[in-house]
């Protein structure tokens, strides 16, 4: 790790990595023995999806030094996209006037955007300065009013007749890809407008954007059913109940179904991992490192810094969108109220920082470790509380109330402690980025 061990640096870091992965494997096996194979597979599958998301953040933060606090937003976008593509078709909607009303709303939206574009072009006819700004603001307002005048009745109509627009009934894997695609498009626009900001402003801007996305998805009931949630989402692999119909026991059906899902998810993670790893080892990665470590020098060498950063931002967000889609499919429910910055933005950050920003192996390791810590904090705290409660009862102070909900909160605290310790004692993570010598 230190500069003194340069000669054997790579060997020791490899050994360290192997040891840590073995330790993680042992932890997983222990969880499996305590909680049962089915729960272990549940945890593993979700951890795999989180690893994919963490990999996405590593591309942005570890490779590019881009601060993204909008992870939750991208996970929601991924989830909502896969709902749209893979949820069964809602014939009640397609048979109603809904599509026509939505079409009108779309036209209204385009007219609104057209107005804005026109206002922006007003310089050509000699309007500039404050007047032009006022014109643009006015155009935005007019566009907003026009759009609202069409979308509000459409939304009300759809919500009262068909509930929501439903899905297209396509294969869930297509839904995941679509999640990645929509995330990419949103990331492109978000990146275009905000990547020029200073790091801390970028953090605040992205967290704001993330909250805007959440508010939209949560309240556009006609599109996402909002707080009424969408379920059950179809799986790409056989569901437990399908296996049970084939004659498996309840226990086995869960294990096999989750194994199948895990295998698919792991395949995607491995594929993405090697793609990212190879790209970063090549000339593209070299350029990215140069940009991250020295903006000015890279820019003066004629590198298109902003363009490259946008690339990283979009690429990372694709992985986040896919990961978010996988999570929604796996839990079979899309619940916009279930998304919280703590679980879906900050936890990913803890994974990347603890694992080692800039090192894909470290980040994957960090994702698994943190997710397992996150999950087992609850039962562990419960155990501690139950024992403490016995003690307080013996002391005559009475039992501790609401142990369940309190224990659940323990994991938030543990997450905070973990990141604090990591920043203090291992700021580069448990598997730090190995400095590559550029030949």
């Amino acid at each position: 790790m230190s500069a003194a061990s340069t000669g054997t640096g790579w060997d020791t870091s490899l050994r360290r990595g192997l040891l840590l992965f073995v330790a993680m494997f042992v932890m997983i096996v222990m969880v499996g023995m305590v909680q049962g194979t089915a729960s272990m597979l549940l945890i593993l599958t979700q951890a795999t999806a989180y690893a994919l998301i963490a990999l996405g953040l590593n591309i942005q933060w570890g490779y590019g030094g881009l601060f993204n606090f909008a992870i939750m937003g991208f996970l929601m976008v991924g989830g909502a996209s896969t709902v749209f593509l893979s949820y069964p078709v809602n014939t009640a909607f397609w048979d109603s006037d809904g599509p026509m009303l939505l079409g009108r709303a779309l036209v209204a939206l385009l007219i609104g955007l057209g107005l804005v574009m026109l206002a922006r072009q007003s310089r050509r006819i000699g309007i500039s300065g404050r007047i032009r700004t006022a014109l643009i603001v006015l155009a935005w307002f007019a566009g907003y009013v026009i759009y609202r005048s069409q979308i509000d009745p459409a939304a009300a109509y759809i919500e009262s007749t068909a509930g929501f627009i439903g899905g297209l009934g396509l294969h869930p894997v297509l839904g995941w890809a679509f999640g990645g695609l929509v995330s990419a498009v949103i990331a492109f626009f978000v990146g275009r407008i905000s990547l020029g900001l200073r790091t801390d402003y970028l953090a605040i801007a992205t967290i704001g954007i993330s909250e805007i996305i959440r508010a939209l998805i949560k309240n556009m009931d006609w599109l996402t059913r909002g707080t009424m949630t969408v379920s059950p989402m179809p799986w790409p692999t056989p569901l437990p109940q399908e296996l049970r119909a084939l004659g498996f026991t309840i226990q086995d059906s869960f294990i096999i179904a989750r194994l199948g899902f895990l295998a698919l998810t792991a395949l995607i993670l491995v594929g993405m991992f090697f793609f990212v790893q190879r790209a970063y080892g090549g000339p593209w990665g070299r350029m990215m490192r140069a940009i991250r470590d020295n903006h000015i020098a890279a820019a003066s060498m004629g590198k298109n810094v902003t363009g490259r950063q946008l690339e990283l931002f979009v690429l990372g967000s694709i992985l986040m969108g896919i990961g978010g889609a996988i999570l929604a499919t796996f839990t079979q429910i899309f619940d916009p109220s279930g998304y919280q910055p703590i679980n879906h933005t900050f936890m990913i950050w803890v994974m990347v920082i603890v694992g080692g920003a800039g090192n894909n192996w470290g980040v994957v390791l960090g994702a698994f470790l943190i997710y397992i810590v996150w999950v087992i904090s609850d039962p562990l705290a419960q155990l501690i509380f139950v024992n403490l409660s016995v003690l307080t009862q013996e002391l005559g102070w009475g039992a501790i109330p609401e142990i369940d909900s309190r224990a659940l909160q323990m994991r938030v605290f543990v997450l905070g402690v973990v990141i604090t310790i990591a920043l203090r004692y291992a700021p580069r993570g448990i598997l730090p980025e190995t400095v590559r010598r550029e030949a």
């Binding site: 402003y201 900050f346 109330p401 309190r406 909160q409 604090t420 920043l423």
Partner: protein, 334 residues
């Protein structure tokens, strides 16, 4: 006339209440940014923590059987502020100061403040559970109704006792802060350090002391803001986590590092939110009498639906960051 009263109740009073809370929170964020140069994300949770401290103290007072003319939450405020300031100092010493000494970048401190957020939230929920509590479980919230019948209105202007106290306390604190920053040696040293930290050090200013004063001010104002919010609405563990972004928006709109900007920004964001969700039909209804048949105003004429109220702040935040990250007051300072 009733329409005007409705407007006063719904916009002026609500906006001022919210603005006071935002302003007090934003001052802390902006001072910390000015002195320590990082975005302190845990500020919302410092507010929540302050509110819970006041809540516990109020409980102690109540169980001691002490009855006060003012709401107990207000009576215990000075003590709660002191405790909150001490905790803020402790948080800095244990989590931020070691990183600063290592010469960590501002981003690292920002991430550390996320860690602090998680820890405070965890502790609060561990101790208090995640339910909603009220300061007014055992006492009544007095409501003042100012009769406006002399002006021909049927409705009164109504404002609650905590709201009135909030206006007074906020005004007093803002004046006190102003005097501190412009008249006192330490206050000027604080402005000096926000202006040019290196030169402040070279001048022999005790920068460690200035940092401590900053945390004391930020911590105690956060305690007031959190308690006020809890008195006005209710006490929840994620009380201020939801408003930390509007508060950041306020600080950024006012220009990070500028205390007066933060105050203006706080009221600006608050009124923007309140006005955006205000139903204009309620005020414009008399127009229905003059409008031609069939052109009556729709029952709900607000700029954005109520469920998007907080989103207004986020949008202002993002637009400000993109258009003028240094805030809307050019050349303003501290």
């Amino acid at each position: 006339m009733d329409e005007l009263i409705f407007f006063i109740n719904r916009v002026l009073i609500s906006g001022t209440v919210l603005g006071s809370i935002y302003a007090l929170g934003a001052i802390g964020i902006t001072l910390i940014f000015g002195i320590l140069r990082f975005a302190h994300f845990a500020h919302g949770d410092m507010m929540t923590m302050g509110a819970f401290i006041a809540f516990v103290l109020a409980g102690v007072l109540a169980s001691a059987g002490i009855v006060t003319p003012l709401p107990t939450g207000v009576v215990v405020l000075p003590v709660a502020m002191v405790l909150a300031a001490i905790i803020a100092l402790g948080i800095d010493k244990s989590f931020y100061a070691p990183l600063r000494q290592r010469g960590a970048r501002p981003v690292t401190l920002l991430i550390a403040s996320i860690g602090v957020t998680l820890m405070i939230q965890g502790v609060i929920r561990l101790i208090f559970g995640s339910g909603t509590r009220s300061f007014f479980a055992d006492e009544t919230k007095d409501i003042f109704r100012i009769d406006m019948s002399w002006a021909g209105a049927q409705r009164p202007i109504s404002v609650t006792e905590p709201q009135v106290i909030m206006f007074v306390v906020t005004a007093l604190l803002v004046v006190a802060l102003h005097l501190f920053l412009t008249r006192s040696r330490l206050g000027k040293a604080m402005r000096a350090m926000a202006d040019n930290a290196d030169l402040a050090q070279v001048s022999g200013i005790n920068t460690a002391l200035v940092v401590r004063v900053t945390w004391v001010i930020a911590g105690s104002l956060a305690c007031v803001a959190g308690t006020m919010l809890a008195l006005d609405v209710a006490l929840m563990p994620d009380l201020a986590f939801n408003i930390v972004l509007p508060i950041f928006a306020a600080a950024i709109v006012g220009g990070l590092g500028h205390a007066y900007g933060a105050i203006v920004g706080g009221f600006l964001i608050a009124f923007a939110e309140t006005l955006a969700v205000f139903n204009w039909t309620a005020v414009l209804r008399p127009l229905n009498a003059v409008l031609p048949e069939g052109m009556a105003l729709p029952p709900n004429l607000s700029l954005v639906p109520t469920e998007y109220k907080l989103t207004v702040a986020f949008i202002i935040l993002v637009i400000t960051l993109l258009a003028r990250p240094t805030g809307i007051f050019k050349g303003a300072s501290t």
